[in-house]
């Protein structure tokens, strides 16, 4: 190959323009096509008109039983809950349309024609999204209206305050937006409709939990709580929409072939290549690694690049960490806690930092059994468990674990400051010597785990969710090459140096 041919980026560029009008061209065709399918029309008609009327009928028939409930329960709880539930029913068919959006077309061989047409990625994605969400929202609104009118016609009261009914409709629309956006992403990332249907559980299960929370909120009469759910749903929707457009890659969709099986060999091959390349090379999807893998390259290039890539996650974890210290501090200043720890403060003052302190007696530390090996193993285990927790909980569990671990520093600091200890010196003497290494290690590990857990939200540009997950896992493992030695050094300092500094401060009366 001639030398002047440059290595190409693997991204088709120039697709940033977006026209809602052109997205609607796609949506209109989809709608027209979809609404001619009796398999879609039957549930729409049934869930919009028939089911609400059946619920009205059920409520009227069961009015005898319902009248035995506590006064106000039927009007104040049961009817609003039924209104909310009716608005949710149409969500079931929204998934059918949305999951078919891309992978269905691919199976019917019509997708390539559409992908080679002059439509941008965002126009295609939005068009497909609108085609699934419009009938769902309309069906949800009409279903609610049919129910309300049905109740009124049969002589019942207005199921909820007019403003609440409007709010329920908004909530139904928000649920539709979230479910459809998630399902369209699933469709654009699946190899077959069957795989998409299986993956749909990732949409259905969380939404089922949300609906149960909504039900509890309505049945307990705390309808104001629905506002927070609405805000939460809208935030999730915006994240999903952004993710959907970002991970939409016509090349990936077209070249993704070969059924639904897990290709371990291929995955391992990908991971191996990602290890061999620097993160930048992987993002650029370069064919070969320009710098050969070596420990030097790992520390000189890979790890700094990973830290740079994880900067937002690091910022998030650091903020959480500082917040935990602040909460710990604040908690100990609460009057109720102060009262509770009053005796403890006195005792602590005498035994630990007072003139009769035994904290630094020669064999106290030895008796405690706290060796550097123990500290190292304990911290490493905590970091790994926190990471696994983060992987499984979209990062939340990992961050909470760090907060729980670090929060006591604030609480103890506050507690000791009330005793009269110089907290500034305490931090310098008892936290900083090892903490200056240990805390960044914990932050890096938690941030990398957060990055793995949320890789689908903001994957590197035009990287599929699968590749993004592999990439962030590889980055996490590479980063361990920095984290483990840091924990090791921190453990040695914590076991051998920190106590000396601390005791010097205690004995010297500096604290």
């Amino acid at each position: 190959m001639s030398k002047n041919l440059t290595l190409r980026s693997n991204i088709i560029g120039g697709q940033k323009s977006f026209s809602l009008k052109r997205a609607f061209i796609v949506a209109r065709r989809e709608l027209r096509d979809g609404l001619r399918d009796w398999r879609i029309m039957a549930p729409i008609i049934s869930l919009t008109f028939i089911v609400p009327l059946l619920v009205v009928l059920g409520i009227r028939m069961g009015s005898g039983f319902l009248s035995r409930l506590e006064p106000g329960t039927f009007e104040g709880r049961v009817l609003p809950f039924a209104t909310l539930a009716i608005g949710f029913f149409p969500m079931s068919f929204s998934l059918v349309i949305a999951l078919e959006a891309f992978v269905g077309e691919k199976e019917r061989n019509s997708l390539e024609t559409l992908l080679s047409a002059p439509l941008t990625d965002s126009e295609l994605f939005t068009g497909k999204f609108l085609a699934a969400v419009i009938p769902t929202i309309l069906s949800s609104i009409y279903g609610t209206m049919v129910f309300v009118i049905g109740i009124l016609i049969t002589g019942g009261p207005l199921p909820a305050e007019p403003i609440a009914i409007g709010f329920f409709m908004l909530l139904g629309a928000a649920e539709a937006l979230v479910m459809v956006a998630a399902a369209v992403i699933v469709s654009s990332q699946s190899t077959s409709v069957r795989a998409a249907n299986l993956l749909a559980s990732f949409v259905i299960v969380p939404m089922a939990i949300v609906v149960q929370i909504e039900a509890i909120v309505v049945l307990t009469g705390q309808t104001n709580g629905l506002f927070f759910i609405l805000v939460g749903l809208m935030i999730i929707f915006i994240i999903l929409l952004r993710t959907g457009v970002r991970v939409f890659n016509r090349e990936e969709i077209l070249s993704r072939e070969g059924g639904d099986g897990l290709k371990f060999r291929q995955i391992l091959g990908n991971i191996g290549r990602m290890f061999a390349r620097t993160p930048e090379e992987t993002i650029d999807n370069r064919k070969t690694n320009l710098r050969k893998f070596s420990p030097w390259r790992l520390y000189r290039h890979d790890i700094p690049q990973i830290i740079k890539l994880n900067r937002f996650a690091i910022l998030t974890v650091t903020t959480a960490l500082l917040l935990a210290i602040f909460i710990g501090w604040w908690f100990t200043t609460l009057p109720i806690v102060k009262d509770f720890t009053k005796d403890l403060q006195q005792q602590y003052k005498q035994q630990v930092v007072g003139p009769q302190s035994q904290a630094c007696d020669g064999d106290t530390l030895a008796r405690s059994g706290i060796t550097w090996q123990f500290i190292f193993m304990n911290n490493t285990r905590a970091v790994l468990v926190g990471s696994v927790l983060a992987f499984l909980t979209l990062g939340v569990g990992g961050i909470l674990l760090v907060m729980v671990a670090v929060g006591p520093i604030g609480a103890i600091g506050s507690f000791l400051s009330q005793v009269g200890v110089n907290v500034f010196l305490l931090i310098i003497g008892l936290v900083l010597p090892h903490g200056i290494i240990e805390l960044p290690a914990v932050v890096f590990a938690t941030a990398a785990a957060l990055q793995v857990a949320t890789c689908f939200i903001l994957p590197p540009k035009k990287m599929s969710i699968g590749r993004s997950l592999q990439f962030s896992l590889v980055n996490y493992i590479k980063l361990l090459a920095l984290i483990i030695p840091m924990l090791f050094v921190a453990a040695i300092i914590e076991a051998n140096i920190t106590p000396l500094i601390g005791c010097a401060l205690i004995r010297g009366g500096g604290l």
């Binding site: 041919l5 088709i12 560029g13 697709q15 061209i25 065709r29 399918d37 024609t113 002059p118 090349e251």
Partner: protein
């Protein structure tokens, strides 16, 4: 109009297309031939801006397929291997949708759709849903869709597959007409007759690499050697061969009871001499004609595993011995005979 330079596409460790370069000018058709999996579709997808090349680049009407994909998509028409229609739609709705997507104004696209539906015999069936169409009708519908915006550049993947002979001819005529209208066309096909009939250039791709390219004639000459001719006689060839000297002029390749085949580089000079000598020796000639050599032979030689001919090399050698006695007549003598042969041919014709 279409320019591919060192196009390479890799999927992980697999290289689907490697260093493919070619260009197609307006008013020309290039046939891209190759087995299934040879890399034709991947090449086409890179040219239609649906796949980005790993290395190299492609330009369509001056637009880079990676930097200006939208511009590229606007000016190309792409007929995919499988028509992939929307089965619940009617053809007019379908064409209206794609016309709108391709920026064809509403007042124009309706008329254009009608015109093409009539041209391809689909007007009468326009009320049917496309799911009810036969395979051939579906293929024609997809072709009309690819043409609805009158693209300057066309990528046609198996345009006549599944069509009856009448429809296939209709489509081939349409492609000829599009060529006349100065459009650049890439034709991916397994129908070698079609490629031979329509293409100005032929590119054979194998395992992602171009193995040979050129005009139909160039390819035949490169791969099948010099043209072959067959002579059919009225009388059978005597058992001890023809009593004339031919071996210094031609290379005999095959023979039968009353015919023989030979190859020569200079047919315009040699064929009259052959004819003259045959006539001089009392052999009456029914026909002397060029042996038809199909693109299929070229293709099989390059891309496939050709079946061995029934005549082995030994048989060809024997035929040489039997049909013509070996002679070392000088070229000068032949040149002297040439004028005489020409005169005799004219006489025979008269």
């Amino acid at each position: 109009m279409i320019e591919a330079v060192q196009l390479t596409k890799t999927f992980g460790d697999f290289t689907a297309v490697k260093g493919v370069s070619f260009s197609v000018n307006p008013g020309k058709v290039m046939a891209l031939l190759g087995h299934n999996g040879a890399g034709k579709t991947t090449t086409t997808r890179m040219l239609t801006a649906t796949l980005a090349p790993t290395e190299g680049y492609a330009r369509i009407a001056g637009y880079d397929t990676v930097k200006n994909p939208q511009e590229v998509r606007k000016i190309i028409g792409h007929l995919t291997e499988l028509p992939g229609l929307y089965n619940r739609m009617r053809i007019e709705e379908y064409l209206d949708f794609f016309g709108e997507v391709y920026y064809v104004p509403k007042n124009i696209r309706k008329g254009r759709a009608e015109e093409m539906l009539k041209q391809f015999d689909l007007w009468e069936t326009r009320q049917l849903k496309m799911g009810e169409y036969s395979k051939g009708m579906r293929q024609k519908a997809a072709l009309i869709r690819a043409l609805i915006h009158e693209p300057k550049v066309l990528f046609l993947d198996e345009p006549t597959s599944a069509m009856d002979p009448h429809s296939a001819k209709m489509v081939r005529d349409a492609i000829g007409q599009l060529k006349q209208e100065n459009r650049a066309i890439i034709l991916c096909t397994h129908n070698l007759f079609e490629a031979e009939a329509l293409a100005d250039y032929i590119t054979i791709i194998r395992k992602g690499e171009i193995v040979i390219e050129g005009t139909n004639e160039e390819l035949k000459r490169k791969l099948l050697g010099v043209p072959a001719y067959t002579v059919k006689l009225v009388q059978p060839i005597p058992p001890d061969g023809l009593p004339i000297e031919l071996a210094n002029l031609i290379e005999l390749t095959e023979f039968g009871t009353d015919w023989f085949n030979y190859t020569t580089e200079e047919a315009d000079k040699v064929n009259p001499i052959i004819l003259r000598r045959l006539l001089d020796n009392g052999f009456e000639v029914v026909t002397i004609s060029e042996v038809a050599r199909s693109l299929e032979s070229v293709y099989l030689k390059i891309a496939g595993t050709p079946q061995q001919n029934s005549n082995t090399l030994d048989e060809v050698e024997n035929s040489l011995k039997k049909v013509g006695k070996s002679s070392k007549s000088s070229a000068d003598q032949d040149r002297q005979n040439q004028e005489q042969v020409s005169a005799e041919i004219e006489e025979v014709i008269r």
